[in-house]
């Protein structure tokens, strides 16, 4: 009896081992690291290096870096995160929450070298790998902080013109970065005329709740569809007129020499009636520190509701 259970136990472990190793794919694995928060894999597929977080047998790509060109943004949504530049009244300081491989932050740093860019990353192992494989260096006006994003903001006395939020960890969404209280903290750290860009995954009901939650703090949200993801641009005050945005976009494209033209991306701008019930589920609830069932919402697929 005991011997049999030991045999089965060994067999079971063996199978788990095989399943785990078959989760790897064919690209060349440069590094893997088990951190406090993630199982991180860095793959090479020249000229690209990508950072992925493994979870069971699925691999989630967090960041992609073109080793021949550090201003390339191969992942669509990261380009659209930069549309925030045409909304901000001024661009004197930029904060990013969720550094990952640091592509968006580095792109902004390279094209706006005089603007301080700060990025906050929870996982020290992610930072270490980003410095080793993703061409990230500490430079004047470019700072990476190892901290929980919400804690960093709560304690910060600074104000930012642009705040970028991209703090997914594989399939996991930290609930305390998706609540009304969190967005209020974000808003309190915006400079006048500041703007918040966020990457949101739109296939589950969590999208509906996230949009409603952002909207409970910011009256305006513009949407940009970026193959598989949605980038939301949230701001205070009245809706920005397309012609005003176009004028700022043209100015800043020229001033900064941006590779991904704001003017082009502006064409993808969408507005939706958030309370109309057509796109966003009317039963979706605003998430709070008290009530934020992000895991449960993430398990409910969105049905029959057209995306913006």
């Amino acid at each position: 009896m005991y011997i049999r259970s030991i045999v089965f136990g060994v067999l079971a472990f063996g199978l788990i081992g095989i399943a785990a190793s078959s989760a790897q794919d064919n690209r060349n694995l440069l590094a893997s690291k088990e951190s406090l928060y993630n199982n991180i894999y860095v793959y090479e597929d020249p000229p690209y290096v990508s950072m992925t977080f493994g979870h069971n047998r699925r691999i989630y790509t967090e960041s992609m870096y073109n080793t021949h060109d550090d201003r390339d943004l191969p992942v669509d949504y990261t380009r659209f995160m930069t549309t925030s530049l045409m909304y901000a009244k001024d661009v004197h300081s930029i904060l990013e929450i969720g550094f990952g491989g640091g592509r968006t932050a580095w792109y902004l740093h390279r094209f706006l070298p005089n603007v301080p860019v700060t990025s906050v990353e929870l996982d020290p192992a992610v930072l270490e790998l980003a410095k080793k494989y993703f061409g990230i260096k500490e430079e004047p006006n470019f700072q990476v902080v190892n901290r929980d994003g919400r804690l960093f903001l709560s304690e910060s006395k600074d104000h930012y013109d642009v705040i970028l939020i991209d703090a997914y960890r594989g399939p996991f969404v930290p609930f305390h970065l998706l609540t009304k209280e969190f967005y209020q903290i974000v808003k309190d750290h915006l400079a006048e005329g500041g703007v918040v860009a966020q990457n949101v995954e739109p296939s589950t009901m969590l999208f509906d709740s996230a949009v409603k939650t952002i909207n409970s703090v910011f009256p305006q949200i513009d949407f940009y569809k970026a193959s598989g993801n949605i980038v939301t641009i949230a701001y205070d005050g009245a809706e920005r007129k397309p012609e005003d945005l176009a004028a700022v976009a043209a100015d800043r494209d020229k001033a900064y020499g941006l590779r991904y033209h704001l003017t082009d991306m502006l064409a993808e701008r969408r507005r939706i009636e958030i309370d109309g019930g057509q796109v966003i589920d009317p039963s979706a609830k605003v998430l709070t520190d008290d009530f934020a069932p992000v895991e449960a919402l993430k398990n409910i697929e969105r049905h029959n509701r057209k995306l913006p």
Partner: protein, 203 residues
């Protein structure tokens, strides 16, 4: 050692199950109170789990000492009632306490441990005294001691499992953390009431 009535034995096992459920349910809920202030990492979970186990260890030791002095169902009823009262105060006071700890100790391991201690230690220690006293109430001969202890811990551990799963997959998606805390407080108070009633009747 007089054998307990069947009704009393049933009440004690039922309470062992419910107390076990609330105990783990509140640990899961602890994460919702702590994450907004101290981050959602493995460090916060380590603090929560170690605090719960410390509370249980203290509770077991305290329970074994109390058994010698006041081995009555009233004793466990009082312990559960105080735990219920503590829980009832948590929703209104937790945010202030967490902010205070964050402002004074930062967000490192010591701060997270202090925060989970403030939240969990008192009520879970009180609940931890339940099992040893329950074993002593249900045992009426030395031969039975092992069997009774096994049953009480088995029932209470099933309660732990149910509490963990029910809280995570049913309560948190349906209610706010504060509302769930009140539900737990009320449930514990109901257990305490159940334990008080038959002792009154017998007297």
């Amino acid at each position: 050692m007089t054998p307990p009535s069947r009704a009393l034995a049933f009440t004690i096992y039922l309470c062992a199950f419910v107390v076990g459920g609330v105990l783990m349910g509140f640990e899961m809920l602890g994460s919702r109170y702590l994450f907004p202030y101290f981050g959602g990492g493995i460090g916060t979970w380590a603090s929560l789990i170690s605090t719960v186990l410390c509370a249980l260890a203290i509770g077991y030791f305290a329970g074994s000492a109390i058994v010698a002095l006041y081995p009555t169902q009233k004793t466990i009823a009082v312990a559960i009632l105080i735990a219920a009262a503590y829980l009832a105060f948590v929703p209104a006071t937790a945010d202030g306490a967490m902010q205070y700890i964050l402002d004074n100790l930062g967000d490192g391991a010591p701060a997270t441990l202090v925060a989970s201690t403030a939240l969990l230690l008192v009520p879970l220690t009180l609940l931890g005294t339940f099992s040893p006293i329950a074993v002593s109430l249900l045992t009426h001969s030395t031969e039975q001691a092992g069997r009774v202890a096994g049953l009480v811990y088995g029932v209470s551990t099933i309660g732990n499992v149910v509490g963990t799963l029910l809280t995570t997959f049913t309560l948190i998606p349906a209610f706010g953390s504060r509302a769930i805390t009140y539900i737990f407080a009320f449930t514990l108070a109901a257990c305490a009431a159940l334990l008080f009633v038959p002792s009154v009747r017998r007297a």
